[in-house]
């Protein structure tokens, strides 16, 4: 279904050149199914709340070592946090984590069962295509020919982002329930490390979001609109 290209035509109008044939004014492909778009936007809101409330929770103990003596890592400003105080932030965090998880599960379930994951999943076949894309984006290299909806670098970025999302949930579970998920906490190096990983994964996700926003801006309006309508008019990338 995805990657299917249709032509957008103009039947009548000033620009019409030939009377017999309608002119093609653009080509478009249906790239983002409704479930994906819904999950994307709900998850965007959830991620925003999770980061904001998470930073407020972090403000209660902005450290990773011992409580006595406590060495604070950074003083995150309250203005850039959600919840007002620790209890309020926990309410936001423990509410929106369900929305965050639900959209993640729905997205993954849909992608797997519809087969749509093939559009975006980074596999070994995409490895050779990553470097040309990096050269194009960062070192003014020639634009590689991309026949798929996602280029190899995009696949790598989005697949990594999904992996980070899963990690954010798993590390969070180990902080929330270190005893019930003791085996999982053990794989992360224990409760202390789970908290460090959770924090690190958040920054990794924010780094992805920054890169994602830059690319969306660079690729223009049609690219952004495609996540709203599902239809992408600019098939260049």
């Amino acid at each position: 279904m995805s990657g299917a290209v249709i032509e957008i035509i103009r039947e009548k109008g000033k620009d019409k050149v030939d009377d017999s044939d309608p002119i093609v004014i653009a080509r478009a492909a249906y790239e983002h199914p409704l479930v994906v778009r819904l999950c994307h936007w709900i998850n965007t809101v959830a991620l925003f709340v999770m980061v904001g409330s998470g930073l407020q929770i972090f403000r209660a103990f902005p450290s990773f070592g011992a409580k006595i003596p406590q060495k604070d890592l950074l003083h995150w400003p309250k203005a850039f946090a959600i919840g007002g105080w620790l209890g309020g932030a926990l309410q936001w965090h423990l509410t929106f984590m369900w929305i965050y998880i639900a959209t993640g599960v729905l997205y993954l379930g849909y992608q797997i069962f519809s087969g749509n994951y093939r559009q975006v999943l980074f596999t070994h076949r995409d490895v050779p295509g990553v470097w040309p894309m990096v050269k194009h984006y960062f070192f003014f290299g020639p634009k590689p020919v991309v026949r798929e909806s996602y280029n190899p670098l995009q696949k790598q970025a989005y697949t990594s982002a999904i992996g980070l999302g899963v990690l954010s949930v798993l590390t969070g579970l180990c902080i929330w329930k270190p005893i019930q998920f003791s085996w999982l906490a053990w794989t992360m190096g224990g409760f202390h490390y789970a908290r460090i990983w959770h924090f690190a994964v958040m920054w990794a996700i924010l780094f992805f979001v920054l890169g994602h926003l830059v690319m969306v801006i660079l690729h223009g309006w049609n690219n952004f609109v495609s996540m709203l309508t599902g239809w992408k008019k600019d098939l260049g990338y």
Partner: protein
């Protein structure tokens, strides 16, 4: 002849590529036909669409995203508080289901213990509410066969448990400490607590109050704690008796216990819970 070979190869290669392109295009057209039928049979013909119809289809697709706006409910004052309370309640519900009665908190070697002077004291108002240790009694009431006022000696007569467990604060820090006391489950047996009761509530000398679900109260590591680091509890740590449940977050470990009630209905939840913290908060 040799010089011409590469040129021929290149030509052949180019032809292949062109054939590839044609195949891809055919495939794309087939896919497009399928896609178009799925999306809107009436709005499009086989593989093209009028720009006006495309705009219409696009608009309809955007409208399908309206469920996202439901999240805006969290921005409405008044409703926000209710929704977050529901969310926290759902988390507590899930927590109670994730709790396994037979699953024990990790215990640690003595070498892993934080030194006693580095065990934080997190009093919510005063470090010492001035409990009269000489005449102290634990008042037991509620759904029990033997209500009354119990001495520390009666608690200490129950089998003693000593455990090195992690104390996890809601703030995010944790400390491994050594705790000693009687199992709350043994005490509940002694006072003849109704096995069908659902909650244990405690009130403290400093007006602090807390409650536990019965599953946690009966957990083998949940103690009526009268010792830390093999010494009687100091006043800052809740002398003479405190709760110690390693499967719960720090604020559930109420200090300076004065009253203990076994109930079917939770009438007094907890000091911090009434400020907005989670009630169950099992680890």
């Amino acid at each position: 002849m040799k010089g011409e070979e590469p040129a021929e190869e290149r030509k052949a290669g180019e032809t292949d590529r062109r054939l590839d392109d044609i195949e891809v295009d055919d495939k794309k057209i087939d896919e497009a036909k399928v896609a178009n039928k799925k999306i809107s049979a009436s709005a499009m013909d086989e593989n093209s669409i009028d720009e006006k119809k495309f705009r219409l289809v696009s608009r309809r697709e955007v409208l399908k995203l309206t469920p996202v706006l439901a999240l805006g409910a969290f921005a409405i004052p008044g409703l926000q508080e209710k929704l977050l309370k529901k969310g926290l309640g759902f988390s507590d519900w899930a927590s109670a289901r994730l709790f396994r009665s037979g699953h024990r908190a990790t215990t640690f070697e003595n070498a892993d213990l934080a030194s006693f002077d580095k065990f934080p004291i997190n009093g919510y108002d005063v470090d010492d509410p001035g409990v009269d240790l000489e005449n102290w009694r634990l008042t037991v009431s509620g759904a029990v066969k033997n209500p009354g006022r119990y001495t520390l000696a009666q608690v200490q007569a129950l089998p003693a448990i000593r455990q090195n467990t992690r104390h996890v604060c809601v703030e995010g820090w944790d400390v491994i400490g050594r705790f000693g006391g009687a199992r709350l489950s043994d005490f509940l047996t002694m006072i003849g607590a109704d096995p069908t009761a659902k909650y244990i509530t405690v009130t403290c000398a400093d007006d602090y109050y807390e409650s536990l679900d019965m599953a946690t109260a009966l957990h083998p590591q949940t103690l009526l704690c009268y010792e830390m680091y093999d010494q009687p509890l100091t006043r800052e740590h809740g002398a003479p008796l405190r709760l110690q449940a390693p499967t719960k977050v720090g604020y559930k470990q109420a200090k300076y216990l004065m009253e203990l009630k076994v109930t079917h209905v939770l009438d007094k939840v907890g000091y911090w819970e009434d400020q907005g913290y989670s009630w169950f908060y099992g680890l």
